[in-house]
């Protein structure tokens, strides 16, 4: 059957398509005129659209077209956008990597600054940390550890490949920021001569 719809069906189809809200049987009848068997047209239409990308559905006695549920992903397409990790998140990640497993309170003690809830969320969203159980101390705080994705992203085979404190010191990475900054300034001032 090349089911060419009759005019009744076409009218109901168009009315539902153009409507800004879901329509009751009565709404549709008013739109298409009294001579049309709306109920029968709706049934035919629902059947016709059952296998298509759009379905005709009834919700609380109102009819409307909607995208087939299995195609919802088309409506909400995800796009990845590169974003640089904030300083707070980077520091938190570093503390977890060096001290894991570690609780939020411990991270704050090491950082000397509180961390916002969003910071751990971001790191979990990135797939770099995971909750790793609870510490058996009063309050049983959640503890965090890094993931294999973390090692992979930062090009590490094991956590023990993280440079130790001595290495950091040798690389000048333990100098307080402002001092390092001053020495930079000095260098550039000397460079001016």
């Amino acid at each position: 059957m090349t089911d060419e719809p009759n005019d009744a069906i076409r009218a109901v189809e168009a009315a539902l398509f153009a409507a800004e809200d879901a329509l009751t049987l009565n709404d549709i009848q008013q739109a298409v005129g009294p001579d049309i068997e709306v109920k029968a047209a709706l049934e035919t239409l629902a059947e016709h659209y059952a296998g298509r990308g759009i379905h005709l559905v009834e919700r609380g006695k109102r009819w409307h077209f909607e995208t087939a549920p299995d195609l919802a992903h088309i409506l909400r397409r995800e796009r990845e956008e590169p974003r640089k990790l904030s300083r707070a998140a980077t520091e938190t990640l570093a503390i977890i990597a060096y001290h894991e497993p570690v609780s939020r309170a411990e991270i704050e003690a090491i950082r000397g600054v509180q961390i916002s809830k969003g910071t751990l969320d971001v790191l979990m969203e990135a797939g770099w940390i995971r909750p790793a159980g609870r510490r058996e101390t009063p309050g049983r705080p959640l503890i965090y550890a890094t993931t294999p994705v973390f090692l992979q992203h930062f090009g590490l085979e094991h956590r023990r490949d993280l440079p130790g404190l001595d290495d950091l010191k040798a690389a000048g990475l333990l100098d307080p920021v402002d001092e390092a900054f001053e020495s930079l300034e000095l260098e550039s001032a000397e460079g001016d001569d």
Binding site: R77, E78, R79, V177
Partner: protein, 255 residues
């Protein structure tokens, strides 16, 4: 034929008094538009139109308007004057005509009318098409296609370890060790200077009593302490001080 509308003059009585009525410019969009309306009333193809007849119609129309004491916009009058000229040229014997010929002017006018007419008809056909919102309708409530932006977090290894280094640097308890520096105390300088000036007769520079030392810091310290010691000895009446002028060597001798 002439749906001559007259501007409402109720709200402008002084103008009504002088019967200055205005030709409704909204009715015709300029003289060319009026000419086209008149031409179409000839009910012939615009290519066949008699320009002479059209000119007569136009001039008659303007004259009627004048008789009604309607104020006619200047461009209509300019067109009337030009058409009157064209008419007289068209009626003159051929030899006396100048360039451009009246036939050329008439033909150009005809071409303009044809072009305006073509666009008027095209506009009408355009407006008669199945238009969205009038004849065809779009979906009333589309779900919309949305792009959800998902962050792909980026940090490199250096960011990570330098962040850790900075936390450590920030939070490590700071211990300040003051380096030991060789100094000559004031007490030492007093004892030393008093003993030395006793051994040397006459004036000597203060500098000559300074110890030989490789350490520049120690030498500066010794000079400063010895200077204060010299002032102290002078105060106690054990030494005399003399300086020729500012920044000259300070001379010292036992009193």
């Amino acid at each position: 034929m002439n749906d001559l509308s007259i501007e409402n003059f109720e709200d402008a009585p002084e103008i009504a008094e002088s019967q200055r009525l205005t030709l409704d410019i909204d009715g015709w969009e300029g003289p060319l538009d009026l000419l086209l309306s008149l031409a179409r009333s000839q009910k012939v193809d615009l290519r066949e139109i008699s320009i002479l007849a059209l000119v007569e119609q136009y001039l008659a129309f303007i004259n009627d308007a004048k008789a009604l004491k309607l104020e006619i916009a200047a461009d209509y009058l300019v067109m009337a004057a030009w058409l009157a000229y064209l008419k007289s040229c068209l009626l003159l014997p051929r030899e006396e005509q100048e360039d451009p010929s009246p036939e050329e002017l008439a033909l150009r006018l005809q071409l303009r009318l044809q072009r305006l007419n073509a666009m008027r008809e095209a506009g009408a056909r355009l407006m008669a098409r199945n238009r969205i919102g009038r004849d065809v309708f779009l979906r009333g409530a589309p779900e919309g296609l949305r792009v959800i932006r998902k962050s792909q977090w980026q940090a490199d290894f250096y960011d990570l370890i330098s962040a850790y280094g900075q936390i450590k640097a920030r939070t490590e308890p700071a211990v300040h060790v003051i380096a030991h520096r060789p100094v000559m105390t004031l007490e030492d300088a007093l004892v030393r200077l008093e003993r030395m000036i006793g051994t040397v007769p006459g004036w000597s520079t203060l500098k000559s009593f300074m110890p030989e030392s490789a350490d520049g810091g120690y030498r500066k310290s010794a000079l400063a302490s010895s200077f204060v010691a010299a002032l102290e000895l002078a105060r106690m009446g054990k030494a005399q001080l003399r300086q020729e002028e500012a920044f000259e060597d300070l001379m010292v001798r036992a009193a």
